[in-house]
């Protein structure tokens, strides 16, 4: 067993003696016999060498995506992480700290969070950002509740192409309120929002908010988004945005977004099987007081020096309780730190170049896959950056991807809702992504494997 509890038995005996007790059992005299336990049955403890061996043995049953030609993407990225990011995250003054409730002793975390907020403000063109939420999907959920707080109506519109996980999270955030979430249909050719439908539905007067994402669930840039705010009028517009894309795109603040949310893991964190992630959240200043999450502000100390502190805490659960704007307490600080460290290492120009490289790789991939018989790649005709949806002509996405895997290619992920009997996107759709490190050989391997996989489907 590890030495994580200090001292030996004699230290405990001495402490007990000070209390006039002889056995730690006496410290639990207030726990009724009726609820006392015998054994839990969790097994005996292990020493550090045995723990390392046992855990490595289990982990060795994983095959990291780096062992494959990987084209996995979606909101969770697999971009290269410079070594310096983890060197900073490994500073235990950062990672073993608590929430900075004592600002004088926590300027490090507070300033880093202020820098994180500053970066998301610059990327989005919004007025203010918070110090992070759990992930992109829960940021959308919080944005939905914010819209419901500030605007009349009971309908919230989201693209039909929104990833099913985010749709499900939104449904859960809406559960406790009289809210109906509805899908905005898309043009079957371009995958872009049907703006005429939006205009009609908003005209009914019962829509309290609309969420759209850039790139959308199919990986595309939907030019309709730039017109959305003029259709919505006072109805709040929530934009879900990829941070790397925002390094080259007109910021949503300049085309009318009221709230901008996003997933920030791709900046400086490996995917870690899906967590920890980091939810990005920015909004217009008028919405700040009804917005969720911690916010760091600049101020002065008694000597007039610049200092940082948590501010607007009267919105939060520990002060406002059942009238708080959200229940969030613990957020994703350390991942937010990774986000700002990563962007600072890469730089504004570096980010734009990275997006340029990924985009070029994605277009090369699209040309290669476009030549594969039985594959529609890209499936939709709209501009895209690093990823796009493809459609298999025969069989379903799962069978196709499984055949690719046997040829050491992770070809993307299916877009359909895996829950049986749920409506959603078709079984033939796959989201496939280029990476910053994708090379020509990997692209050729994908195309070759795809040909073989589809030929096998045809034969069967």
């Amino acid at each position: 067993m590890a030495r994580w509890i200090p001292g030996d038995r004699s230290e405990e005996v001495a402490l007990l003696k000070e209390l006039g007790l002889s056995d730690t059992e006496e410290l639990f005299a207030d726990v009724p016999k009726k609820v006392r336990l015998g054994r839990m049955g969790v097994g005996a403890g292990k020493d550090e060498p045995d723990v390392v061996r046992a855990v490595d043995q289990i982990l060795d049953r994983n095959r990291p995506y780096s062992k494959f030609a990987s084209f996995l993407g979606g909101r969770i990225g697999t971009r290269f992480v410079p070594a310096a990011v983890d060197a900073i995250l490994s500073r235990s003054e950062f990672y073993t700290a608590y929430t900075p409730y004592q600002p004088e002793a926590s300027q490090g975390t507070l300033q880093a969070m202020f820098e994180f907020q500053s970066l998301w403000v610059e990327l989005t063109g919004m007025d203010a950002a918070n110090a992070s939420l759990y992930d992109g999907a829960t940021s959308m959920g919080e944005a939905l509740l914010l819209c419901h707080r500030v605007h009349e109506g009971h309908r919230f519109l989201v693209p039909a192409s929104l990833p099913w996980e985010e749709r499900s999270v939104l449904e859960n955030y809406a559960t406790g309120f009289p809210i109906r979430i509805e899908s905005i249909p898309f043009d079957p050719r371009t995958g872009c929002l049907d703006l005429a439908w939006v205009r009609t539905e908003v005209g009914r007067g019962d829509v309290f908010g609309l969420l759209a994402d850039v790139p959308n669930g199919f990986g595309h840039l939907d030019e309709g988004l730039l017109e959305l705010k003029s259709l919505l009028g006072t109805v709040p517009l929530v934009i879900g945005a990829d941070p790397l894309a925002l390094s080259v795109l007109e910021p949503p603040g300049s085309w009318g977004a009221d709230v901008v949310v996003g997933e920030g893991q791709g900046f400086g964190m490996p995917p870690n099987f899906g967590g920890p992630l980091v939810g990005l959240f920015a909004c217009r200043k008028e919405l700040l007081r009804v917005s969720p999450g911690r916010i760091v502000g600049a101020t002065r100390d008694v000597e007039g020096r610049r200092a940082f502190t948590l501010t607007l805490q009267t919105r939060e659960q520990h002060i406002r309780r059942s009238r708080a704007t959200s229940n969030i307490c613990t957020n994703q600080s350390l991942v937010a730190l990774a986000f700002v460290v990563y962007a600072s290492l890469v730089g504004a120009r570096g980010l734009a170049e990275l997006q340029g490289r990924v985009t070029e790789r994605a277009h090369t991939l699209a040309s290669a896959l476009g030549g594969v018989d039985g594959l529609s790649a890209p499936r939709f005709e709209a501009p895209y950056l690093g990823e796009f949806a493809i459609a298999v002509g025969r069989g379903n996405a799962h069978a196709f991807l499984d055949r690719l895997r046997r040829r050491k290619v992770l070809g993307g992920h299916p877009l359909a809702d895996p829950r049986p009997g749920r409506p959603g996107l078709g079984e033939e759709l796959i989201l496939t992504a280029a990476r910053d490190t994708t090379d020509d050989k990997e692209i050729q391997r994908y195309a070759k494997a795809a040909r073989a996989a589809l030929a096998a489907t045809g034969a069967a």
């Binding site: 067993m1 590890a2 994580w4 230290e11 405990e12 402490l15 209390l19 410290l27 639990f28 009724p32 609820v35 006392r36 054994r39 839990m40 969790v42 289990i58 990291p64 995506y65 969770i76 410079p82 310096a84 983890d86 003054e93 990672y95 073993t96 004088e104 002793a105 300027q107 970066l119 403000v121 203010a128 759990y134 999907a137 999270v169 859960n172 955030y173 559960t175 730039l226 080259v248 490996p270 099987f273 899906g274 967590g275 920890p276 700040l288 502000g297 020096r305 200092a307 501010t311 002060i319 059942s322 229940n327 613990t330 991942v335 600072s344 504004a348 120009r349 734009a352 170049e353 895209y384």
Partner: protein
Amino acid sequence: MTFRQARYDEPLVCELAPGRAAAEAPAAIPGLPERWRRKTPLAWPELSELEVVRHFTRLSQMNFGIDTSAYPLGSCTMKYNPKVSELLARRRTAAELHPYQPEETVQGALEILWRLEKGLAKVTGLPEASLQPAAGAHGEFAALLMVRAYFRERGEEAQRTEVLLPDTAHGTNPASAMMAGYTTREIPSKDGCVHLDELRAAVGPKTAAFMLTNPNTAGLFESEIVEIAGAVHDAGGLLYYDGANLNAILGVTNPGRMGFDVAHLNLHKTFATPHGGGGPGAGVLAANDRLAPYLPVPRVVKRGRKFALDYDRPKSIGKIKTAYGNFGLDLRAYVFLLSHGEEGLKHIARRAVLNSNYLAHRLGRFLPRPFRPLVKHEFLLSGAPLKEKGVRTLDVAKRLLDEGVHAPTIYFPSLVEEAMMIEFPETESRQELDAFVAAFERAVSDTPENLHAAPRNTSVGRVDEVLAARQLLLSWKDLRAAAANLEASGR
């Protein structure tokens, strides 16, 4: 102990290297329509790796962490975060896994999740667990959605609109109830514990759930827990366990044994995953047979020798976040569980409660302790008598920082005037406890002038929080605008 925190007048990272902008615009993005193209370049500097590393290293030195100081924050369970967990969580076989990889390629990750869920089910005494919540409050919210789904199926959703909680509840409890669409009702305490008669009078056909943490935030074990559970269940309501304070009762009792239907745990408390300066945490949902069908999907299952993700749970509430939870933290918690085992977990509770009672006993000489003397993982002191000399709990907290220890949780719970809530987990030695007693004595016996002037040894002096809320400078953009305004008005 002499303590001086690092003090750098460190600019913002975006203020470093002013004027060093990119020489030329980056190359055009292939296929990017002109309408979409960013017209104003992103305002973020071009820095060398050393400049970035030095900046953030300096910031880190202006922070307290468990590795630098004792951190007696009540209800936060700031215990040592083992280094072996950090090592293993950084393995490529853990970090370089995309959640959408085929199941065949992530058998190890699924096995970790499966084993941890099984282990935590045993620890909580509730048969099924899910690791999907990102944090404790997220778990509370998800659990209340499960409660809602349960009553919906029974046709009682419209009737059961109320969540009850004690007046000592963590702030997240009422906030989570609000987010799940419930109204809340506070049950008054009696001597720091739930007033059973008040609870019995309050429960009824409108009750959806009673949310309780045990031991509670006064550090007291709710000894009438069997009667509490009976009262809630007799009224047809469900009993919810807030696991923030589980550390004190590991192996002594558990939520299942106490009659709870559903629970959340904070792996970043009891299971020693690092707090990261405010997050990430990792939450756990554990449920009895009545509520388990509503747990989020996917569920990790074992089929023969293979692990799989099961989405075929028709009653499930669905997803509460992307992917399967904070796997990187779950792995650390698994390492902790595996290392301690049965005896280690029991030892944790005993030592944490011993530390807490010893410290309560010693500090009780300086300030009054409300309620009964026997406490669990944490205890309360009231700073009310200090008001006589013009000193508040806040001043003592700031003065403690000068001693090189973190301050306790202050002004919570609100039923104790000028509250200080102190928790020294099992990883702190007698030496640290005694050092804290000495520091505390120096703090409370210091002059009002010194207490008001504290802290002096931290990176910055006392921070003006009122000014922060008034001027609302929340980003570099705001600072630039404020500077421009100042310059304009100066002319």
